[in-house]
């Protein structure tokens, strides 16, 4: 049996009822993509907030460390009266 080959540029024909289905499915996919993009936007917003939060945490930890160092120094190296 001769093997059928796909030739580039050859036209294909789609049944009219299926053509309508195709358009419907494409419209549905477009809608889903818009929804996915909205969710991605929200996730990106959360990610940016989280990044800022982590940076703030790092600064706060350093601040607490600095204060604790002061307390520690005050207790371990008391000034002579």
């Amino acid at each position: 049996m001769e093997k059928l080959k796909f030739t580039k540029g050859s036209p294909i024909f789609v049944r009219v009822d299926e053509y309508k289905d195709i358009l419907d499915v494409i419209a549905l996919i477009k809608g889903k993509i818009t929804e996915a993009k909205t969710i991605l936007g929200k996730l990106n917003e959360i990610k940016n907030t989280e990044d800022k939060e982590i940076e703030a945490w790092a600064n706060e930890i350093e601040e607490v460390e600095r204060k604790l160092h002061y307390i520690d120094r005050s207790l371990l190296e008391p000034d002579a009266f």
């Binding site: 059928l4 080959k5 796909f6 030739t7 580039k8 050859s10 294909i12 024909f13 789609v14 049944r15 299926e18 289905d21 195709i22 499915v25 494409i26 549905l28 996919i29 889903k32 993509i33 929804e35 996915a36 969710i39 991605l40 929200k42 996730l43 959360i46 907030t49 989280e50 939060e53 703030a56 945490w57 706060e60 930890i61 601040e63 607490v64 204060k67 604790l68 002061y70 307390i71 005050s74 207790l75 008391p78 000034d79 009266f81």
Partner: protein, 133 residues
């Protein structure tokens, strides 16, 4: 008791006001961080929900894409090298018959989700390479 007090030693704190202020400030900062962590935990819940929703949407898109792919005729069954245009009548008769759809393999239940997606990707890449030939 009175004897204990006589023998007790005390460490002097030079700037008690400043010392106390730093101590309270440390407590305050720690509490602020804990409060932030609670807000962060709530946000993570929202994030998890959004991620799950996104996964759902992507699965729906994948399902619809497959549906779209199946709506198009199978390219292997057309475009003969010695293809001749048929008359309008012949064409109408031919297009009335529905072309058989390519059966999709049922995914193995033992495969993990990544393996299934990998298999699907390979399948698509194979088809794309046939088109590019």
């Amino acid at each position: 008791m009175a004897e204990d007090q006589k023998e007790a030693f005390y460490v002097g704190i030079h700037e008690p006001g400043e010392f106390r202020k730093e101590l309270l400030s440390t407590c305050k900062d720690t509490i602020v961080m804990l409060k932030r962590y609670e807000i962060h935990r709530e946000r993570r819940k929202v994030k998890a929900e959004l991620e799950s929703e996104l996964t759902k949407k992507l699965k729906e898109i994948s399902f619809l894409s497959n549906k779209l792919k199946n709506l198009f005729p199978d390219h292997k069954l057309r475009a003969l090298p010695n293809f001749k245009h048929k008359s309008k009548k012949e064409h109408t008769e031919h297009s009335g018959q529905k072309e058989p759809r390519k059966e999709t393999k049922k995914p193995d239940k033992n495969l993990s989700e990544i393996d299934k997606l990998e298999r699907e990707l390979q399948n698509i890449e194979r088809k794309m390479s046939i088109i590019n030939e």
